[in-house]
């Protein structure tokens, strides 16, 4: 087989795969790459930037590999053969130097982006911030709206373009709270509170889930995150406040019992300080 045909045999499937990939991606929702929130958008931009930077190493490596492998194959007797040529200060300086330069650039980006996109940092906005207290349970998510005095299970609603400040804990094992369309995740841990700040920039319904294994019902532990305009958000809150169930301690304990693929549920009037009392169970041993 000629070298040209060999290259063709390798190149053709690669092109076909790239083609299929483009078709697939254009027809499916890829939340990390097509964000619907300001934080997710910045994280996506960072992803693309780092990818381009990495191309400065990947492209030379791939081309060098192919060229060298072709040229210096044993059957090509025309190629130079220097069995003892085994170091070159100039060349080695280049390939210690170039990755160092790339990593130096990326380090600066890492430092600034770690601070700019610190999940604990509140998002500055002309719009008011919504506070949501998130509790991971076996195996569902509880969302408490302390200022609006309502709560929901496995459905989160937030007003579009309003910053949302999540306070997160767990009343079971560790979970991870993740809505890829809106931005990165953070762990939910018993006896501890973590925080996450997100902001939706588009209306829609987004997939949220736990990213950390938490037992039998883990796979069913996903929820719907609704990004609504403010009016629709208000009527959603109103719907919750009309719910039959109130989230008193007794009802909370009922809810906290293990259940799988829990349906969406609405509650009114969560007990005062429920969120901090849930955390304190583990810190002070105080019973709910």
């Amino acid at each position: 087989m000629s070298t040209k045909r060999k290259i063709l045999i390798i190149a053709l499937p690669v092109l076909v795969v790239i083609g299929l990939l483009i078709v697939f991606l254009s027809q499916h929702n890829v939340p990390v790459l097509t964000p619907a929130g300001t934080i997710a958008a910045q994280e996506r931009n960072l992803f693309v930037f780092a990818l381009i930077l990495a191309a400065f190493v990947v492209i030379p490596v791939y081309s060098l590999t192919i060229l060298i492998a072709l040229k210096y194959r044993e059957s090509n007797k025309k190629a130079r053969y220097e069995p003892n040529w085994d170091h070159s200060r100039v060349l080695e300086t280049i390939w210690w130097g170039i990755p160092m330069a790339i990593i130096a650039v990326l380090s600066v980006v890492t430092w600034t982006s770690s601070h700019a996109l610190d999940p604990y940092k509140p998002i500055a906005s002309v719009h008011s911030t919504i506070n949501v207290e998130v509790v991971s349970l076996d195996w569902k998510w509880l969302f408490i709206y302390p200022n609006q005095s309502v709560a929901s299970v496995n459905q989160l609603a937030i007003p579009v373009n309003h910053p949302v400040h999540f306070y997160i804990t767990s009343d079971t094992v560790m979970n991870s709270f993740w809505i890829p369309s809106l931005g990165g995740q953070i762990y939910a841990m018993p006896g501890m509170m973590t925080q996450l700040n997100l902001e939706a920039s588009k209306l829609g319904s987004y997939y949220g889930s736990s990213a950390n294994i938490s037992g039998k019902g883990f796979a069913g532990m996903h929820f719907e995150a609704l990004s609504l305009n403010y009016q629709a958000f208000s009527s959603w809150l109103h719907k919750l406040s009309q719910s039959r169930l109130s989230l008193n301690i007794a009802n909370y304990k009922k809810l906290a019992r293990p259940s799988e693929y829990n349906p969406v549920a609405y509650y009114k009037d969560p007990a005062d300080n429920l969120f901090s009392d849930i955390i304190n169970q583990y810190m002070t041993g105080a019973k709910l």
């Binding site: 697939f24 990818l51 210096y72 069995p83 604990y120 990165g184 006896g191 990213a211």
Partner: protein
């Protein structure tokens, strides 16, 4: 009451598997073991087995036994992977696949645990045992009895983890068993205990191996082999073993604390009671991150030998390579937090660990360029080890890019625990570690067994693995970007993930074909072994000392220890026709001993008793270990003398390059 204490958890019920698949697997394993025992009995091989293998202290035989156990475990891990691929390709929407959630989670946890601790570690220690003493011109490792004990502890751990198929269950808490999920409150069955004790027993064996090989490299090198003349594989082993010596004690302590929580009710990592699960996560990764480099460094070493040999050219940038290994060793201790940027450590901490992680990309990149320039102006023979190497370069570079992306904390928040992460570390471990070991096995196979493996079948296997890998793990990168998290036994149809999971399943099937071809390769090569017999001891035109002795080498490796004058010691000898002149003298070599096997049997009894709360049996296991060690260390002569006459007889019966160089 007393009876209940005697039988521990056995009196509590739920002992035997309820799932059909597990039961079938357990019965299969039992039948296999009975068949092997029967075969040994029928062919009257017990004395042979005892004398030649079970009590051996010879590093080459121990290496072969490591490989056998590791390949069995690789098959177990691969079956687990196949089950997961099948489940995820079918369990969508209203269908829930063929496994229950808890069984899927057990299979997933077993896959990770077995692949890392028993397949990858086993292949690594197997290859190190086979090659390292030969490559540095030594007659054995520094502590041959300890070496045998390490192997048997490893085998005991491997057996213990497979007992969970038939008795009790296995951990469903993921391969690193994060608390609080792995605590008694949330995992009340024997599962996590199986995980703890099989790793604890194997882990102590690994720690002892680490100490053994560090000592061997530092004390047993041939005359003239200064550290900077040492072959790259030996350097990479030194780096890896330094990591073992400092990382494995952390694992031992972490597992012990978790075991205390589960058996004595302490509160190191519990939710509540003053426990702190975050401490566990830090500790386990302070071991876990170096562990990745423990596995990959020897593979880097193998690639260095393979590329140099098959390019018929000395390794480019030797000093850079050595510094790169040592830089990786140091840096790999300082990056563990990148496994949990999402725990909320704060921007400063996350950024520091992110940058430290990226730094590792520098020495790794340097190594890749040095390999490429080893090929440059060489004469490259594309044998199957070189095909594994080419697959490694393409995949590992891609996986490395994914790794650098995730080293940026703000990017990692969107990728952590997703299938993107799963795809990333499989790219690193399959292409880096596994391909490296496959190349190493093919490369050193003739040295160990005296004949080469069929190269054509080896190439087919490599192609199938590479293509299968891309088809299986390419989709996982995209699935991660689509929000798919790891360890899902089911997902809804609305996610749009199904097609990609099916594609990944097809990729898994292609890899399975690759594995099948590898078995055909071994069997075919054994049948046709006369055609590929290695009579020179140097089938590849090698460069390092292991090729200067016969294939397979005599049990004492070298009748006369070689003297090293340059970096590619054997290449140099061949070109100067430098034949060793010194006289053969009688040798002191370690005697066989069953003590290592006995220690492992007692360790198995102890681990099994701790899992099942057999409080009467547990002390027997522990006392058994102590007594065996005491008896062995206080008993007299551990060495035997091999006379000059015997050596001369053996030397006359085998050929190596010297016999051809004389002509």
């Amino acid at each position: 009451m007393y009876l209940a204490n005697l039988f521990g958890r056995f009196s509590g019920g739920n002992v035997f598997p309820t799932s059909l698949v597990t039961a079938a697997a357990a019965i299969g394993v039992v039948i296999l073991i009975i068949a092997i025992l029967l075969l040994i009995t029928l062919t009257r091989r017990w004395t042979w087995l005892w004398r030649e293998w079970l009590t051996t202290t010879n590093h080459k035989k121990i290496g072969v036994m490591y490989l056998i156990v590791a390949i069995l475990m690789l098959l177990r891990g691969a079956s687990d992977a196949a089950m997961m691929r099948l489940q995820q390709a079918t369990s969508v929407g209203s269908s829930h696949g063929f496994m229950s959630a808890s069984m899927f989670q057990q299979v997933a946890s077993a896959h990770g645990t077995i692949m890392i601790f028993f397949a990858a570690m086993g292949l690594m220690f197997g290859l190190i045992n086979l090659v390292l003493p030969l490559q540095i011109g030594a007659r054995d490792v520094a502590f041959p009895f300890m070496n045998a004990t390490s192997f048997w502890l490893f085998a005991a751990g491997a057996l213990l983890i497979n007992v969970s198929l038939g008795l009790g269950d296995f951990s469903a808490a993921g391969w690193l068993a994060y608390p609080p999920l792995s605590e008694l409150k949330y995992s009340p069955t024997t599962g996590v205990d199986y995980w703890i004790w099989s790793l604890q027993i194997a882990g102590i064996g690994s720690l002892m191996s680490g100490i053994n090989f560090i000592t061997t490299i530092l004390k047993e090198r041939a005359r003239g082999m200064s550290l900077m003349k040492m072959p790259l594989f030996s350097w990479s082993v030194l780096g890896a073993m330094v990591l073992v010596a400092f990382a494995f004690p952390i694992l031992t302590v972490t597992l012990a604390l978790l075991a205390l929580d589960r058996t004595l009710g302490t509160h190191f990592f519990t939710a509540g009671g003053g426990g702190n699960a975050m401490m566990y996560v830090n500790l386990i990764w302070a071991w876990g991150h170096p562990e990745v480099y423990i596995l990959v460094l020897p593979a880097f070493g193998i690639f260095s030998e393979v590329v140099s040999t098959f390019s018929s050219k000395s390794l480019f940038g030797y000093k850079s390579m050595v510094w790169a290994i040592m830089a990786i060793v140091v840096l790999s201790y300082g990056v563990w937090l990148h496994h949990f940027f999402t725990m909320g450590a704060g921007a400063n901490v996350n950024a520091v660990f992110g940058i430290a992680t990226m730094l590792i990309a520098i020495p790794t990149g340097v190594k890749i360029f040095n390999w490429l320039f080893t090929m440059y102006r060489g004469r490259i023979r594309f044998t199957s080890p070189m095909i594994w190497f080419m697959g490694f370069i393409f995949l590992f570079t891609m996986g490395g890019v994914a790794g650098v992306l995730m080293a940026v904390p703000a990017i990692d928040f969107q990728l952590h625990n997703s299938l993107f992460l799963v795809a990333h570390f499989h790219t690193m471990i399959v292409s880096g570690v596994l391909f490296g070991y496959f190349a190493g096995i093919t490369y050193w196979f003739p040295k160990v067994f005296g004949f080469r493996l069929n190269d054509k079948l080896g190439k087919y296997a490599a192609y199938l693995w590479i293509i299968g890998f891309v088809v299986a793990f390419g989709p996982l990168y995209i699935l991660g970007l689509m929000g798919a998290t790891r360890r899902l036994d089911h997902y809804s149809a609305a996610t749009g993930w199904h097609l990609l999971f099916v594609t990944a399943g097809i990729g898994g099937a292609i890899i399975a074909c690759g594995i099948a071809v590898q078995f055909v390769q071994v069997i075919y090569s054994i049948i046709k072994r006369d055609e590929t017999k290695d009579i020179t001891g140097d089938p590849w035109n090698g460069r390092t000392l292991e090729w200067s002795t016969a294939s397979p080498p005599p049990f004492y490796n070298f009748a006369v220890l070689p003297v090293v004058r340059s970096r590619d010691a054997f290449w140099d000898m061949k070109h100067r026709k430098d034949l060793p002149e010194s006289e053969i003298v009688a040798l002191h070599l370690p005697k066989n001993t069953p003590a290592g096997l006995f220690i492992a049997v007692f360790a198995f009894i102890f681990g099994f008793s701790m899992i099942w709360h057999l409080w009467v049996l547990a002390p027997i296991g522990l006392i058994g270990i102590i007594l065996t060690v005491l008896i062995r260390t206080t008993s007299g002569e551990h060495e035997e003398i091999v006379s000059v006459k015997t050596i001369n007889q053996i030397e006359a019966s085998m050929t190596s390059w010297k016999d051809y160089a004389r002509e």
